[in-house]
């Protein structure tokens, strides 16, 4: 038993020593890999990323960038991703917190979000989007990549459609495969993936993005008929 414990301690200490000695090289390699992965063109229906000085620091468990812009696809204008035309962030540093919950803290000087105008139709206390439809893969892709950690974004300036809302803290995490919780300055919003589409529940009311089938058979048909 003692020999087993000794072996484990020896291996772990050896690995830690290697990481510390070669941390600069490893950080450089990670920076290269992250930049390379973000430069991959996944096709017209996937977001594209523009960035400057995106660096990984292994010992500090952090990623920093001068600016990082997400450009959303424009091929299918009615897909929900197009509700956001682009997200720009500048002067940011993200740090990984290895507490009980794996957490990524992102501190930014400014985040700019350009939202496209959305028309709604009302059904009781329900607001159904007339402009965009939802695809489950958008939610599933997001879940696959980010289901295991909490993301906390702290920005000095949050600018939505050129209106500066000042300092904001946004946190999001997946409650399960179907539900994502978003907290904007302490206010809880629940996004639920349903067969019919995406439900966004706020304290005051519910907003809904239909799936493509419902959208085509209702909103799109109406606009075609007109």
């Amino acid at each position: 038993m003692k020999s087993v414990i000794f072996s484990i301690v020896f291996i772990v200490s050896g690995l830690l020593s290697v990481i510390i000695i070669y941390s600069d090289d490893l950080s450089e390699k990670l920076t290269y890999n992250l930049n390379r992965n973000l430069n991959v063109d996944w096709g017209d229906d996937h977001p594209k990323f523009l960035k400057q000085r995106l660096n990984v620091d292994l010992l500090d468990l952090s990623v920093s960038w001068d600016y990082f812009n997400i450009l959303f696809p424009k091929t299918e204008t009615e897909l929900i991703l197009n509700a956001l035309s682009n997200i720009q962030s500048s002067g940011c540093i993200s740090k990984i917190s290895l507490s009980l919950n794996f957490k990524i803290n992102i501190f930014c000087n400014e985040i700019r979000i350009n939202l496209k105008k959305n028309k709604w139709t009302k059904y009781n206390k329900f607001h159904i989007s007339r402009t965009f439809f939802f695809e489950r893969r958008v939610f599933d892709d997001f879940y696959d990549k980010q289901s295991n950690y909490v993301v906390n974004i702290d920005t000095t300036n949050l600018v939505i459609n050129k209106i500066n809302l000042g300092h904001n803290v946004i946190e999001y995490l997946f409650l399960d495969k179907e539900n994502m919780q978003l907290m904007i300055d302490g206010e809880v919003v629940i996004l639920t993936k349903k067969h019919e589409g995406l439900n966004i529940h706020t304290v005051d009311s519910d907003y809904f993005f239909l799936n493509r089938n419902y959208f085509d058979n209702t909103m799109k048909r109406e606009s075609t008929d007109v």
């Binding site: 059904y123 009781n124 159904i128 067969h195 019919e196 589409g197 089938n213 419902y214 058979n217 209702t218």
Partner: protein
């Protein structure tokens, strides 16, 4: 003296008569229980089979069986999701059925009948070897286990596996029992081959089979081993031939990775034990299960609870079995106090525990697993549970109570589900689509068309073939009451564009664009 002899003869005769009479009562009880089992399980199938769907794999299987009947012998079957072709044995086995009829109802019933036959084969063995209690428990478990009942009501390659597994178990036990011949070794091996052809994941049974033979010191002679390998190769030769000489490997890319993660094998094993996949109408590998609205939470507790209880009994049974195995070194593994002339209940529990434990190979390899891949466990679980109760004297009452609770929970859901499927079928189900066609033809003229609305959206179903002297129903929208009750979007779409009619079909509400209906 004569009187004494006569009295003794009289007593002996009376004893014999009593024994015969007792045996007759036991036999009557045995057949009564079997008859009851057949009635109950037939009710389950009669309610659920017409409410089943038909998909691409089923149509393709029938077409390939027709090819066999026409003399065009297929070397392989349809493509699996990993883009590899399936083995062909299934299509040859169902060809006689398709020759009789390609009616889906018959084909779906064939799976149910094979499952019942498998259960009867094992129970006959149990009854002859052990007793009435084990026999009843086996039948009870088989008539209630959610996953076993569900899969055996659907026509698909893997769903015949429990029948072949029953034959495998009996052949293996007969072979291990020293008095019988080598033929059972070959039968067991051939049956594994058939199972692997129907469901490749059954391949874990090959090392398991070898290990069990090694454990019981029953590895056959070298000649028999060579003969058996030749039989195995011959059985899969069409598939090998196709991939060696016909298949175009240029540009082939596997559709899936072999390694998928360690969690899926555990979750799906647990899922198979309790059958909780059916507590959801739509899942990834099940086009539609059961709409349990508004009882989903209660059913989740019932199925998860029975999963945990069943797993607990299996873990206990495995511990009871493996404590009888002594491992001296990696080639010297013995069963303690093994009597080669008698196959004890403990020995059978060891065999079953090894088969069940073989599932660990799925975990080690990180293979992609879905609950139906564990179907080979159906007779293993039932036999394990029925024998564990009679073997373990120490906690007999506790174990029996837990098993009864599992049977009650699983049975309650299975038969509730069967009734629900009967009351609320889909218009597209194999037993109801013709009924609906007749309904619309009798009520609407040829200008009318029926659509189905469900939480996923609006889908065209069929046009009416009715005469022009019938009324025009316009665009008919069929929506299940449950979908209407549970989905705001369904209600919104209907109330916005359509009006409710007085027409009714099973549990469907029928709405129409024709406001006058």
């Amino acid at each position: 003296m004569i009187r004494t002899i006569l009295t003794e003869n009289y007593i002996t005769h009376n004893k014999k008569m009593e024994k015969t009479s007792y045996m007759r009562i036991v036999e009557i009880k045995r057949y009564a229980v079997l008859f009851l089992f057949l009635i109950v399980i037939s009710i389950y199938y009669a309610l659920t089979i017409p409410s089943n769907s038909i998909w691409h794999d089923q149509t393709l299987a029938v077409n390939l069986a027709k090819d066999v009947l026409n003399g065009n012998y297929p070397l392989v079957g349809y493509l699996h999701s990993n883009r590899m072709h399936s083995f062909p044995a299934f299509y040859y086995l169902i060809a006689p059925l398709v020759y009789i009829s390609d009616n889906p109802i018959l084909l779906y019933w064939s799976v149910a009948a094979m499952n019942i036959l498998g259960v009867m084969i094992v129970t006959k063995y149990i009854y002859s070897k052990y007793g009435f209690q084990e026999y009843v428990l086996y039948l009870l478990f088989s008539a209630t286990h959610v996953s076993t009942l569900f899969f055996s009501s659907f026509f698909w390659n893997p769903n015949y596996t429990p029948f072949f597994m029953s034959i495998f178990i009996i052949s293996l036990l007969k072979y291990i029992n020293n008095k019988t011949s080598i033929i059972f070794f070959h039968i067991a091996g051939i049956v594994i081959n058939i199972m692997v052809q129907m469901m490749p994941q059954s391949i874990v049974l090959i090392p398991t089979f070898i290990f069990i033979l090694f454990l019981f010191r029953k590895l056959p002679s070298l000649v028999n081993q060579v003969v058996h390998i030749a039989i195995q190769l011959a059985l899969v030769y069409p598939w090998i031939h196709y991939h060696l000489f016909v298949f175009e490997w240029d540009g082939f890319e596997s559709g899936q990775k072999l390694y998928k993660g360690f969690s899926s094998s555990i979750i799906e094993y647990f899922n198979y034990l309790g059958g909780w996949v059916l507590n959801s109408e739509y899942t990834t590998y099940l086009a539609y299960g059961t709409n349990t609205y508004p009882y989903a939470k209660l059913i989740d507790i019932i199925l998860t609870g029975s999963s945990i209880l069943l797993l607990s009994l299996l873990v206990y049974s495995t511990w009871v079995s493996f404590r009888g195995i002594k491992i001296s070194n990696y080639i010297n593994i013995n069963i303690i106090d093994n009597d080669v002339n008698e196959l004890t209940i403990h020995n059978i529990l060891i065999v079953l525990a090894v088969i069940n434990f073989s599932c660990i190979l799925f975990f080690i390899t990180g293979m992609q697993m879905v609950s139906y891949h564990y179907q080979f466990l159906a007779p293993v679980l039932a036999l394990n549970m029925s024998l564990l109760i009679s073997y373990e004297k120490k906690f007999k009452k506790l174990l029996a109570s837990v098993l009864m609770l599992i049977i009650l929970l699983q049975g309650s859901f299975s038969y509730w589900r069967a009734y629900s499927e009967y009351k609320k079928p889909y218009a597209t189900d194999i037993g109801y689509s013709d009924q609906f066609t007749n309904y619309i033809t009798n009520n609407c003229n040829a200008d009318s068309a029926a659509y189905i609305l469900d939480p996923k959206g609006l889908h065209f179903f069929q046009s009416s073939k009715g005469d022009y002297d019938k009324k025009s129903c316009g665009k008919l929208i069929l929506v299940l009451r449950d979908h209407y009750a549970q989905s705001k979007i369904v209600r919104w779409l209907l109330e916005k564009n359509y009006s409710k009619t007085d027409m009714k079909f099973k549990d469907y509400l029928i709405w129409s664009s024709n406001k006058e209906l």
